[in-house]
Symmetry: D3
Subunit: 297 residues, 6 copies
């Protein structure tokens, strides 16, 4: 290859790629002063939140009860700073940026309010996750201690990301919740849509391949094993043949339900309290409370 | 433990590990001046390619339409530099290195040619991925915008890596394509063999556990859900009882096919156009066009 | 938001989070001088071990047969240093730290002994993994070389982490083995409990979603495909209704068994030598030697 | 040391350090949304500026004449982004922050204007530094090429930082110019105050220990050697006995002057055109044009 | 070069370098569990100390008066952890390691005590540096604010390192103080021996080339300019002709003294209170209080 | 500033900076495949060389006499790899690149030979530096041990870089030696030209401001203090009025000479054996052996 040839190819390819027709619909134009959604910062946000909720387990410092408030104070402040930029980034992104120039200050105010609300929510979030930790320990005969659960159970990590993402979504933040749940999906193979509603004391064991859809509603004390799908059966189409967005289409799971590995539960059906769904099962109709549904042999 | 004991153990262990019998077949001897396949560099290559294809979504800079060509220019050049080293590394690796001394310059020329071809392919690659983005948006009622698809859908990420890897494989690069698809596999749980042939407007939703085998052929407008396997049924053995390599052994999927979660389709069978394969299904025989195959209850 | 408001919220939230009732059971108090289990260091440990076992494949240096012992020597020493701190961290963690002050020196001695044993085990570990590499190459028609298997097969990576973790567990190290196997789980979607017993020449292909339980026993020359579960059927409960820990509850798999994708094998059952378990199957009873169990259609 | 003792000491020390009397006058309170002067970012700014001015010498990319504008484009944009934040940081810092709340938007506008001016100044800055490079090459018999001067002469690096800092100071930026010149001071031992006025074709050889004061004025084609001081003789005091700030108090050096090593020139005196000042000399009175001042023996 | 030749050279050179005669006296053997003096950690220690002493100026967080104690608390704890390892490293190093095996626990106790003392000294250190800041501002007509002095005056940085190093030396720490002062020397060109005794309100302007010897004693309100040496005149030799270590051999400078640039003051002489020493002067005899010593012309 | 204005300014400035007239003489065009001189890599080279020469002092590993050859082996190999690229980079740079296309392979061979020679030189280099360490310890009453000298004396660091750079220069490497000595200059303020000739047992104390010119010749057992210049008096001009390059123009210093701080010795003069040059002295004529030259008072 001569240098001339190489230069020609680079120049021509760049020219083609710079034509508006080529990048139309694939180009994100960001405004000046506008923060950008950042996987790295979100990863730091999740890390700091975990360090706040489970003191001494994450982060590099040795903490004792006399000095715990120093560490919590610095972490809460740092969380505030980082979360604010990402909430603002999400708001700008969700806004379509169309009337951006007139409202950046409005979005800033909104981002600060949302961030404050999230900070105030932390003690409640900790209490909720404490129940998830306890449930995971009780449900797994292989767990030696709650510390082991906190330290290395992927199910807990996915639930922690979900609970953070769900709160942000409820506070009106676009995009960011989805990115936070995708981070857990990539790390654990557990895909919980942040819009899903999930009760306390929730356990996912092993977890790879679990999918929980956007409109799923899950009660308390529910346990899922790997490969469980809580999905949609089919999508009503609009007049143009496109799926209608936003319709409830995922299962409602009652309290104290166990769903074994690779079971697939589809559609807006009810799985009653205290029921058990066996592994590798395909369920598309309501299951009464207390029933055990197993694969026929 | 005395220091003496420790030194003895280290010294003896190192001695054992340094014996040729011990490392035989597990040792990769690289030549001087020969670049090495590097996961880190391949990760940077994929990142830059995505920054080129979807300007403004990836990378840290703010881009506008006036300055887009600067960014594309620098990224295309950087891609050239990095890709060249990895293509060359793949060629050297694939070559078994047996007659390496006489042909490094030949491999360098070949690597440059391949890299040039890939650079020239970028506009076409972008057009192809634009169709995948559009398909993912249309197929998922939970998607708010194509931007969200580009930004955080794991299915698109896996398809993007596949399309890069497939092109490199077609251009004759050993090993590197497999490494690129394994990177996506690790990140998303979606395992697409780079040799597979896949049409335009391809969607994978959720995706964890999807496996697409090396000789699979997939038409256009196909949608797969999590846990779908397009696998081989069994492997014809040669006279020594080892599987014969390179025989077509994976399914051929027609156009406009939907395969729901955890379905398993095995063997060199035909799944006809416009058919629907239900979840948790085991398919080992041809499915006619337009048919809906569901799990019996 | 006024600065005043922000300060009030931070201060009050930190106060709530610092109350002992809030962090009770979620707080890990580490002692002075006590090393901490570290995912980063464990990741480096696994990396160095792989560099020792497969010289020239991992790590950044060019190695030849004359200088291989230099590299092995430095890596073995570095492994010793790092592993010692993590074994000690695991011992302290597992100890509940209750009588820590009187026994740190005892734990240090123990950690050194364990680390020495692991170092001495390296040549045997290499021999074992050499058989796994060979089996993976022989079982996969798409594999071009054993080098490709070593370089990019996720199944081998998961097995490698398992064999390291299993040895450490056998040597009496708490927590650390579980962390090492979770690292592979996150990276590959393959979840092998370090307590499981697995014979030589073991292959996992594709692998996403594979789960192998703590009391599973697997023979030699066994092959598993993606999504296979070797799980527990149910857990005997104690008088308080909690699962009894430590009871054998996972399958025993014979020699030369193949289990196809997404099969689920549950409970303390026997899967006989030379048997074949088909995909998407649910098995809860013994399978005789040589039998082929397939899904009914 | 008991843990109790340690905790008491930390707690008490923190309490003392947190009292307002202790940190009074030593505490910098930054406002929300306000960028902070950052040595790291300034270092990147200087690096990018050098990469723009001397293409191909700095930065990691291979550049050729066909693609040079891509690289310049990306670098100029990046420089704009980074410089804007630091100019704004400097303006906020200089402002004493007293009436900050009402004027952040004004400072933002001002920062953008200043940054634009600096960007427009780049071609002129390059032309100016080209003369400095040429002068350094001509004055040093040990220099093999202008490339060597650009690549590794500390004198040129200090002059480059000075010319950047001086322009920013002239554009009204507080603090930042001083930080940029201190960076060169730390790296090269050459301390040029950014307020000093220096003509074209300026050379400093070796340079360690050179000090050029704030009100010094230096003509064209001037050469200084290591250890030269252009300083103030004494400082007029105000009524409180403090030095009066801002009075011209450093030398004025004519054109084509050479000052040899460790010479000290003090006070608002004139050193005439074409004069030569010998090494280790102490000069506090005017020197006529063309004169050679040497140390008496 | 053939590979064979290369291997031979490497192997032979390594063999020569590994002979004890070759590395005799140049080899530092560290014990197991013994921390090592680390420039990186010392750099972090100095950075944290500055962040504690001058809140809001250094470090990346935004601090306000409500939350300042959180930040100080975390920083003081971190300082404790890091400083303890380096104090212990210094004690082990200084000990010659000869009877190390019996006394590591003793040295640990000693390191903890010293670290505690240093932590308790922080408020006093801050008060002392506050006077240095004020003096630097008052003495330099070019200084716009004390903030500018704190933020970018190399003289203050060198004095800060000196005051840290001097305290550690007084507490009995070997080696580490010298390393801390060398860090400032490298960064600022100011070389203050940590054994020197220096009063309050000390100023060094510009500073490159300043040398202050180990037995120098400097009063309060002293100002030095660049290139000033406070050195030894000659060294009494012992019977073997080697310099006798530890004899007072550097000047004693009174209060309120100014020493202008490049002055050299040598030997155990007295420079009286309120005196002024002119630039480029060579002083080897006592100077009475109040006298102005200038270079003869 | 409107976005329009900003885009216009960037575009126009980039256009101006991309014109050949603007960057003429300031542009370094590197060839494909050609390594680039890299400060980062040179810094690593110097670090590894020091780790080889002074085992256990630098680098992060604990070394004992049993395992020292492992560490030396790996370091010598790594040094070979890195040094080869930089020697090649220097050769390409020095070549002016004019007939590059025909001779890259020749330069590669040359680079390998030079690198081999340097590797073989290491034992001799260590022996030489051992004498410098010993001399520094003997000459400084403040030095507690040779370990302290190795660990933190800037003079030794500068001499070490000089001896590395001088050897590479003698082996015919352009540019790289100068970069290595500039690294020490920046770090220590000591500027030794790599062409200078310096005997064994050389000491520089404190060192800031020391300058040793390219054609200086220094005997054995010489000690210099801070600020000493061994410079050129004047430069013979050629017919165009430019300094003639390459003429001997710096002093020749005999054996056992001491030069005190800030002395300036200029021109091709002889400073006889065993002589002493006092501080702040200006010497331009020969000094007989054994004489003490002091400043007149």
């Amino acid at each position: 290859m001569s240098l001339k040839n190489y230069s020609r190819i680079v120049t021509e390819t760049v020219k083609k790629l710079s034509e508006q027709d080529s990048y139309n619909g694939l180009f994100h134009q960001q405004k000046d002063d506008e923060p950008f959604p950042s996987g790295e910062i979100l990863s730091e946000i999740v890390g700091i939140t975990r360090a706040i909720l489970f003191p001494g387990f994450f982060g590099k410092s040795i903490i004792n009860t006399n000095t715990i408030s120093f560490h919590l104070g610095v972490n809460v402040e740092r969380l505030y700073e980082l979360l604010y930029t990402q909430v603002l980034a999400g708001l700008c992104f969700g806004d379509g940026c169309s009337y951006y120039e007139h409202c950046l200050n409005t979005l800033r105010e909104k981002a600060k309010k949302i961030t404050e609300h999230f900070i105030e929510y932390l003690p409640e979030l900790r209490a909720l996750l404490a129940l998830d930790v306890k449930a995971a320990y009780n449900n797994d005969p292989a767990a030696h201690s709650t510390a082991e659960v906190i330290f290395c159970y992927p199910g807990l990590r996915a639930i922690c990301n979900y609970r953070i993402a769900h709160k942000l979504l409820k506070l009106g933040v676009p995009l960011i919740p989805r990115m936070i749940s995708e981070m857990a999906h990539s790390e654990t193979g557990i895909d919980i849509h942040p819009e899903a509603t999930i009760g306390h004391s929730f356990t996912i064991d092993h977890g790879t391949g679990v999918v929980i859809g956007a409109t799923a509603i899950i009660g308390s004390n529910v346990t899922l094993y790997q490969g469980v799908t809580l999905g949609a059966k089919n999508f009503p189409l609009d007049e143009q043949g496109n799926p209608i967005k936003g319709i409830p289409r995922h299962p409602m799971i009652g309290n104290n339900v166990v769903v074994y590995s690779n079971a697939t539960i589809l559609g807006r059906i009810n799985i009653g309290d205290n029921s058990v769904i066996g592994g590798n099962i395909w369920v598309t109709e309501d299951v009464p409370a207390g029933e055990r549904v197993l694969q026929k042999k």
